[in-house]
């Protein structure tokens, strides 16, 4: 791919990156940081390419080290983020209440929000 196309893609990606996190609530700062951290573990793709083209044993050794490090970043990042997010649950509703019983589903938590406000008044 020519340099100009790569530059175009890079600049557009900068704007997308700014845009997708600009309104994130502080509640999710830790998972977001951890999730973004996992994404740059995709350097694994680069490490695999370099390792797959290595002819010299020393080059292969260094490339394999890069593969190990990148895998730790990628796998560890996504697993730990998932573990954190698994724990973020909405308020449980009594089962007698009709509607979606899945905690955290959009409809559920909308109803919870209302119930919460009613309790306040």
């Amino acid at each position: 791919m020519d340099g100009m196309s790569l530059l175009t893609i890079t600049v557009l990606a900068v704007f997308v990156g700014f845009e997708v996190v600009s309104k994130v609530s502080s509640t999710l700062h830790t998972p977001l940081m951890s999730g973004a951290n996992a994404i740059h573990g995709i350097i694994l793709v680069g490490a695999i390419i370099v390792a797959g083209q290595a002819a010299d044993p020393l080059v292969l050794a260094v490339a394999l080290l890069a593969v190990v490090l990148a895998t730790i970043n990628l796998v560890g990042g996504f697993v730990v983020t998932d573990r954190m997010l698994e724990m973020f649950r909405g308020r449980q509703r009594p089962p007698s209440n009709a509607g979606s019983g899945v905690p955290g589903s959009p409809g559920d938590s909308g109803a919870v929000e209302t119930a919460h406000k009613e309790r306040r008044q």
């Binding site: 890079t10 190990v68 730790i72 560890g76």
Partner: protein, 457 residues
């Protein structure tokens, strides 16, 4: 084996890049966050499978073995880590990613004839190695392997300048003639620069640095994508670089600091240095039974959890106490400061672990006006985030940081281990105010006693 043609390869990489954007987008809301993260993981898997079927690769058994080793190390650690130790783990994962990017760039040098590609290599080497070493220091600080206080010495700024100048010189030569030796020198200079960058950052600012280094690693990955001509690496790295930058600024804003102030504050003496001296002034301390009476006959209670709660593993007891009070008809909320815990948003994770529904966790801006109508603010293991010095003492290291206005509540109860100041090392005047009661002891023990006494009321 026939390889996938370039069009399909590009389409699959595009799909992976879209997954990463959806992942970041999903992480904006607690409802979609988990799905978002799984979409991101799927994108990563798609990309890794794509590289195996689209590029002619030798050494495949070795590569698969290395991936197995990496997964074998990372997955169990990620599954078992205590949520309190989350920040250092994120720092560690970030560091190894930066290290991998630097190694990839180093190995690509022998294939790079274009000076622009060599420029990208130089950038990746320096930033990747810097992120690796900086994350290592951050890990050591958070893990308690070294002091959390800012480490400075005379001549540190000068040394940093020398390192950066030397790196610029070595980088120029690498761009001109592709010297491998100087590329190795550059790698070492990057490591030194990373250490020097993080050493002077102290105490509560360390987590912000993780976020900044995360953005750095993103940029290094993007640059390595330019080196390899791989669009996915460019897009993914740039996304992380950009979002990491915004996130770093948002976190710094939540602490009332500027990113530059955090990174270079210690040079000017304006960092969160503080003291660890123990004050001798008189305070009103009380028993668990008295605290239970205060809480049990209140109309409205706001619990302000801090890192002390997490260290004592008292989240579950705090959640139980909230339930016990709610059973008495008392309105209970948790007020979460954006930087409560060791990392912005950390406390939300810790309380989520204790099954506190996220609707009960109120952000600072939403709850601050409610302290005025609150009978008891129960501060558990938090200090700096409720310290009025942030508003009143212009010389204080935390001056300007938005705080939770617990002083507005009719009664303030602090559960504290001792009179030692918090992470930032600053005395809290609120402890000596007439409406304040203190209950000394380990946060979990104190909460258990208070919970028992509330149930006995």
């Amino acid at each position: 084996m026939t390889l996938l043609n370039p069009t399909w390869t590009a389409l699959l990489y595009l799909a992976a890049a879209a997954c990463f954007i959806l992942a970041l987008k999903g992480l904006n809301s607690p409802k979609t966050a988990r799905r978002g993260n799984l979409i991101g993981a799927f994108g990563a898997l798609l990309a890794v499978v794509t590289v195996f079927v689209s590029v002619k690769l030798d050494n495949i058994p070795w590569i698969l073995g290395a991936i197995a080793v990496g997964s074998g190390v990372a997955a169990p650690v990620a599954r078992r880590v205590q949520m309190t130790q989350m920040p250092q783990l994120v720092a560690l994962f970030n560091g190894v990613g930066g290290g991998a990017a630097a190694l990839v760039a180093l190995l690509e040098l022998s294939h790079a004839d274009d000076p622009w590609v060599r420029l990208a290599i130089v950038f990746t080497l320096l930033v990747g190695a810097g992120s690796f070493a900086g994350s290592g220091v951050t890990f050591a600080k958070l893990q308690g392997l070294m002091t959390t206080r800012p480490v400075t010495f005379p001549g540190l700024p000068a040394l940093m300048a020398v390192v950066l100048l030397a790196a610029a010189g070595a980088g120029t030569v690498v761009i001109l003639n592709g010297s491998l030796v100087l590329a190795l020198v550059l790698l070492i200079l990057g490591l030194v620069a990373g250490v020097l960058l993080v050493l002077p950052v102290g105490g509560a600012d360390v987590p912000i640095v993780i976020s900044l280094l995360n953005a750095f690693t993103g940029l290094a990955v993007a640059a390595s994508g330019l080196v390899l001509g791989n669009v996915l690496l460019v897009v993914a790295g740039t996304l992380v670089g950009a979002s990491g930058t915004i996130l770093t600024r948002a976190m710094a804003a939540a602490m009332g600091r500027s990113v530059a102030g955090i990174m270079f504050g210690a040079f000017k003496g304006g960092s969160t240095a503080g003291s660890t001296a123990v004050s001798e002034r008189p305070v009103r301390s009380s028993s668990a039974e008295d605290v239970a009476v205060l809480l049990g006959y209140a109309q409205r209670v706001i619990i302000v959890p801090g890192y002390g709660l997490a260290v004592a593993q008292g989240q579950h007891t705090a959640a139980e106490l909230a339930l016990a009070l709610e059973a008495r008809g008392i309105e209970v909320d948790f007020a979460i400061h954006p930087v409560a815990g060791r990392m912005p948003g950390h406390m939300n994770v810790l309380l989520a672990e204790a099954n506190v529904p996220y609707e009960s966790l109120k952000e600072m801006s939403d709850i601050n006006s409610e302290f005025r109508t609150t009978d008891v603010a129960l501060v558990v293991g938090a200090n700096d985030v409720v310290n009025p010095a942030a508003k009143t003492t212009s010389g204080s290291p935390i001056y300007g940081m938005p705080i939770l206005e617990v002083a507005d509540a009719r009664q303030v109860v602090f559960l504290k281990r001792s009179m030692r100041p918090g992470f930032a090392g600053i005395e809290n005047e609120l402890l000596y105010e007439p409406q304040t009661t203190l209950l000394f002891g380990d946060a979990k023990d104190s909460l258990t006693k208070v919970l028992g006494a509330v149930k006995a009321l």
